[in-house]
Subunit: 336 residues, 4 copies
């Protein structure tokens, strides 16, 4: 039985992590922390959990967390995560960080895109990127895992095979992504109100979204050379799901069959990547840990379409998958 | 007072046309036709119209329509439109065709994309494309107007200024579009069921959607040279609205200010095109005849974002706008 | 041309009022006030209005408002309305108050349900309740009109005919109502976030909602005796629309035909009340000023079902209807 | 390991049953039948199941089913179920029938409400009603279980405690229920289209819905006397969830605390019934097997509010719960 603490337990990814872990036969959730709603019972914050988890939210020190938990799922915002994680590691905890803090290798790139100095810059570049589909071996022995971003997972799962096999050029790639509203979290912002978001569709963060350098960094490692792309996120009037449509330039002429075969071959052993012939709908992955990927040849481009549930595979599902790898449980435990 | 008939009165664009025309001070709706629900009162098909329009759906001959109406809004599917319109023109009616039948100039292109021989091929190439923002003068004197497609309007309003001013290259353009479900009409298809479409997002018709040649043809006229683009439509879990994100290559380096100024200058006199600084949301155009357009420079591309209500500006609103031009009414009558 | 000011112009009912009045041929909007977003252009708050209304939000004194406007639509919250309206009346303005402040006749009842002392108690009981369907003559000569609540309109339009005709008992009535989220306004409350409200349905305010005494008061006047009912509101995951299902006890046995005939007879001359045979859907009234009503006999009860658009007929549409009555314009001006 | 067949595998309750059983450590799904989509792979009908279940839909005889499966979940429509179940029972299968066919005790009542003669009338009255919360012991030894209706479960869980304890009168009860659209199944009906159902709310089946006699029958058994109620269903623009607001007359004056205590006491040992203090939202039960119940005293009535996920607890979750009881597995297996 592994004892688990969840930091920042009021948000959507924390709730999803709890729901998944409640199904895990080898996990006991022992602590939930918060910085703001101290002493509330978790069912007051997440009424879905009524009768399912009898814990209060607490404002705990790293020492207290270290006494209670073997593994910590950190659901704090960026910067807040990296301010607390070093002390947790010092306590001997393993940490799966769902924030963006340890995803980028360079403190300078972090500061440029996140607008703050990184609180723990020395560790950057040494933390495995928690996408088991690419970095399973590094994850296996890690004490800290940087759980990947939601958008990046869709782009990476579609483009990594084609870059690894040198089938597409590493530049001029366009990733046009669409996400449900849960990706924005539970914050009280006017544009997240039902009556503002419902029945509307918009682009946001055009050219300035923080997931762009994350995608470029990971795909650059896969390609073995710098990858340059344009990333445009959009907000869809739905709760869960991300779909990314990516446009890339083939290095020579390929048939659609060749592209599909490359995707299938690359992901052949991955239990959570499904290469499908049809154009996938985010619904097919909703509340699951699956990534669906397909590709089409259109004129002189390869168009890939890939989708996930942004809260499950995009955050908490990957986190549990990483947890299973860290602790040697079957990788799909609690994820089917 | 202009007497108006609406052909194919059971669908969404017909309903919207009726709702707009009920506000028009110079219109009397005198006939509604159908091929299937004959003899039903219009309020049985469209309960919204209860107490607002006292007409039955009828299966009328062109002669009967010609006796009753000066102007016909044809809301029939493609092919069915072009099978009936010649006889209506022979009756002296003016016709605004909301189908795709007279939009493409070439019978061969039509047949390639629509999979059927065109029923009235001689007329192709002589019918004005009913986007007043570009073709107002040709529309003014026409007897038949080809009302433009919904997706094309968003792409055209964003890209026409940049092509006309030779600011972008006419090839390598990517138009990634997203539409609400009303664009698919009222047909009984499983993927249009609430429980299949709700909370899901998907691409469809990748590389094979019929609006691609329509966009290319119209933009080609504006550019004065062939335009080549990739068009990818997506289905958004909402009712109304289309947003298109287009990626094009500038012919030289431009600042964002220059691109925005070009958009503003080009559309300066158009009452229904709003060039906006912010990233627009389809909600802002919902139930209106407006097109919202903006642009950003991202790396080496110009990214434009444009949106409309696919049923209003995208179909019935443009149709009423064309009607106003045809009959000399102020162009925004019934559209504010 | 009537000059109109709108107080509290940032909310949903203000926006809807503006949109309706933009279609009104005899209205010029001359002032928009706010207590918080001073100096913003209205299009920054309501991007839908870009290019349609060139006014800034201002923090104006009653004198300034009186100089600029003949009629004031007051979209302020309760209490704030009654604090400002006396000064506006003193300036000679006519005022249509969309808040609840002048709906109840008794300062004690107001204080009990709204939890604050009424700022202008002497005027209570002298202000006509702005439901033209019942109080048109009192409205006609008024300087101040208390625009009716959204839920009450649905309950009143269904039950008033049956109470007036003594067909149902004035007690033991149950009004089970369901509203879209726009009724809760634009406030930043967690339960109004898209991801909290979407795909969920709940009751709220059971037994304690402020519209209960309002419904009882108005129906009591119609019945000529006290009316006692239970009112239960629910929140529907949609934007607009209220539907009320009411259960009442007939005073003797009636056929369904008799009940329907009574409804039709009572509302025969009302342009905005539609007595329909079918079970109405709020969609049929969406974005309109119509009320749809029907009735069924089930066992020993009369079950009525009635619906409106809560923002149009439920607030701004009725306000414009009242405005038209006050100024002698055709009652449906700007409402079709 | 129990071998399970699912009859009528194309619908929503079949899909949900499959998804739940895929998590069940002691179940192997061995057959999926259909009457219409023979030979399709299940992932073609339910793309969510891609990579998760490798079975084709087949048109199997009872003998073939009997060879392959120990237990049959019958997801066929009413009448079709009772036409096939006797042969399955003869094969020795245990059957959990998700249709309405064996819920009512009387063939006459069945025929009155369902409009067809019952195909297997002798068995009526001998089949346990599959609500474990009331009939666990009868279910335990049964070969056939009549899985309960979705609406009835909400009404029963709220009212059974009060009727059992004689706290409310058995007549004059009003059950005003609201359901998401998945309850209507996957049939191609116009009112189930996204653009017809979205952003609309309506009542349906007022006074004539088939769940009324089912609720009355079950509550009558609990009360030990006939129960008479009015049941009004409504359609909510969401996918999943039912909430019922019920109004009943207390037999004497009770405090709210007494009513809540009665609910808590009655359901104290039920793992899936949660008596909550707050007014519950269907979201809290979404994708779970929980029933949430609360009560309020309003004037002279007890108002109960109860909710479930109509597909999980309302159908497939209860079915799996019954399955666990039949086979001696922990009752919450695969349901957490």
């Amino acid at each position: 039985m592994t004892r688990v603490a969840i930091l920042g337990a009021t948000g959507y990814t924390a709730l999803e992590t709890i729901l998944l872990l409640l199904r895990h036969p080898h996990v006991k959730i022992t602590a939930l922390t918060t910085r703001s709603d101290e002493n509330l019972h978790v069912s007051q914050v997440h009424p879905q959990l009524t009768g399912r988890l009898d814990l209060h939210l607490e404002n705990l020190t790293p020492e207290q967390i270290g006494e209670r938990a073997d593994c910590v799922f950190c659901c704090l915002p960026h910067k807040a995560s990296a301010e607390r994680i070093p002390a947790l590691l010092a306590q001997g905890c393993r940490v799966i960080d769902l924030s963006a803090d340890y995803r980028l290798d360079s403190p300078e790139v972090f500061e440029k895109w996140y607008g703050v100095a990184h609180p723990d810059p020395e560790r950057l570049g040494k933390v495995p990127y928690g996408l088991p589909e690419l970095f399973r071996e590094q994850i296996r022995g890690a004490q800290l895992v940087a759980n990947p971003g939601c958008y990046p997972q869709t782009a990476i799962c579609a483009l990594a095979p084609l870059l690894a096999k040198k089938m597409i050029r590493p530049n001029g790639i366009i990733v046009d992504s669409k996400s449900g509203a849960s990706g924005a979290g539970k914050s009280l912002k006017p544009h997240l109100l039902y009556c503002e978001l419902n029945e509307g569709f918009s682009a946001y963060g055009v050219g300035v979204h923080r997931h762009q350098p994350e995608i470029e960094q990971v795909l650059g490692k896969v390609a073995g050379e710098p990858v340059d792309l344009i990333f445009t996120p959009h907000l869809v009037p739905m709760e869960r799901g991300i779909l990314s449509t990516a446009y890339s330039c083939p290095t020579r002429e390929f048939t659609q069959e060749e592209v599909m075969a490359a995707l299938r071959e690359y992901w052949a052993n991955e239990p959570f990547v499904r290469v499908v012939d049809h154009l996938p709908n985010t619904r097919e992955c909703r509340f699951t840990n699956y990534v669906n990927v397909t590709a089409r040849i259109v004129k002189d481009r390869i168009v890939t379409v890939s989708c996930i549930d942004n809260i499950t595979k995009g955050a908490s599902g990957s986190a549990v998958q990483n947890f299973n790898i860290l602790y040697g449980y079957p990788e799909d435990t609690a994820l089917i």
